[in-house]
């Protein structure tokens, strides 16, 4: 994909997030090309919710999303690896103690 929109051969890419029903958060379902946000929403409705799979759709320009790098995933997520005391199972509870 060229950075220069003048030479772009396809419409911009949008990432699509669908809330499948009220009470659940939006989840990523895929992507599509569209010239603007309104068309992206309409296309997302036709592509990803033809069978009532959603009650709400978000479309986000793909290049507006910043992502962590997969190459760095160890270093990036390591800080959480040695903090088992963040989980309740880390702690010992005397026998017979309830509701803790």
């Amino acid at each position: 994909m060229s950075a220069d929109p003048g030479t772009q051969r396809d419409w911009p890419l949008w990432e699509v997030f669908v809330r499948s029903r009220r009470g659940l958060s939006h989840g990523h379902v895929g992507s599509l090309h569209a010239p603007d946000a309104e068309m992206a929403l309409r296309n997302a409705r036709d592509i990803y919710t033809r069978r009532q799979e959603g009650v709400s759709i978000w479309v986000v320009p793909a290049d507006a999303i910043s992502a962590s790098s997969p190459d760095e995933k160890d270093a990036f997520f390591d800080p959480a690896a040695d903090k088992v005391y963040r989980h309740p199972t880390f702690y010992t509870v005397p026998d017979g103690v309830k509701h803790l």
């Binding site: 990432e15 895929g30 592509i47 992502a67 997969p70 760095e72």
Partner: protein, 342 residues
């Protein structure tokens, strides 16, 4: 427990999903037999878009997903042929929904291919130039209404058997696209079965029409699973990579075992005098499959190859003004918004 090895975080401020693939030459792509990569696959792990992966794995996936996407959109043609002549409003609405699904399936798959660093526009160019293929099954003509039934029952039935294992493909986006597609295909197969069942129980002429369609589509459907295992050189590598989960012959046998009893329920015969149930193995055994015809169709000598490609190129060219108009409209609205802000 390990301490944080590096605290400097280098976020990748690139597109998160599609078209964000660093050019292969710039990546430290693992070798094909990289132990870490093979261990990930052996562990049933999934490869995601921005992971480093062997270049041959990436290329194999691009080729397979593109061919699959092309098949979905070319597959709209044989059925689109019957929309205006469907025998009732109900059948017409169903057929339109099915053809729309095929377009949607093509889009899911083009989007999945794009996560591997290719552009949809390029894949379409390659389809139009004939350098990428689509499934040969769509090069057969749909000459009667019963063909809509036979395609749904046999062609979509075979496609489902082929596609269900791909929902467990090692490449995440392809597997997720297949989950959606397989859910939708089951309606396709049932509506085809229903068309044939109605015709088979109709007038003698309708029954004969159904039988004729099944006679024409049975063998091509069996060939959708590809050449026999001993003549399928790339299968082993695709299975090693978790792209393919079962051999061509194993999938074909599964399809035959599912379909033969359904033909009995339809009251239609399958055009194979050697078809017989093998008590010992519990499988239905077909006669030998003549692949010479399939190879002729693959080479471009099927009855509809030229027509399908001409129609696809024509549709793309005739749709150019719609794409241009959408671009112009988006540009006009963006300029207005900019002016309002200023």
């Amino acid at each position: 427990m390990t301490l944080c090895r590096r605290c400097a975080i280098r976020c990748n401020i690139e597109r998160v999903y599609g078209n964000d693939f660093t050019a292969p030459s710039q990546v430290d792509a693992p070798a094909e037999d990289d132990p870490g990569f093979l261990a990930l696959l052996d562990d049933e792990g999934r490869v995601e878009p921005r992971d480093a992966m062997p270049e041959a794995y990436r290329k194999t996936l691009v080729r397979q997903i593109a061919q699959h996407a092309h098949s979905e959109i070319i597959g709209m043609q044989p059925e689109g042929n019957w929309i205006t002549r469907a025998p009732s409003l109900k059948r017409k609405a169903i057929l339109m929904a099915k053809v729309q699904d095929e377009a949607g399936h093509g889009l899911y798959l083009y989007a999945a291919a794009e996560t591997l660093g290719v552009e949809r526009a390029d894949l379409l160019d390659r389809l139009h130039a004939g350098t990428q293929k689509y499934s040969s099954i769509f090069n057969y003509p749909t000459i009667t209404w019963a063909d809509m039934g036979a395609i749904g029952w046999l062609v979509d039935g075979a496609a489902i058997v082929n596609q269900v294992p791909i929902t467990r493909c090692s490449y995440g986006p392809y597997a997720r696209a297949m989950v959606r597609i397989c859910k939708e295909e089951s309606f396709h197969q049932r509506q085809g079965f229903e068309i044939l069942h109605t015709l088979s129980n109709g007038t003698p002429a309708q029954h004969a029409m159904a039988q004729d369609a099944v006679n024409r589509w049975w063998w091509p459907s069996l060939m959708m699973f590809g050449p026999p295992d001993d003549a399928s050189p790339n299968s082993e590598r695709s299975m090693r990579w978790g792209i393919k989960r079962h051999s061509n012959d194993a999938l074909r046998q599964k399809f035959v075992d599912m379909t033969v009893p359904q033909s009995h329920a339809l009251g239609l015969t399958l055009p194979d005098p050697e078809l017989a149930y093998d008590e010992a193995s519990g499988h239905w055994r077909t006669g030998p499959i003549d692949f010479t015809e399939l190879f002729e169709v693959i080479k471009g000598n099927g009855s509809c190859n030229v027509q399908r490609m001409a129609h696809r190129r024509g549709a793309h060219e005739r749709g150019a003004w719609v794409r241009d108009a959408a671009d112009a409209y988006a540009a006009k609205r963006a300029a207005r918004t900019e002016a309002a802000v200023a």
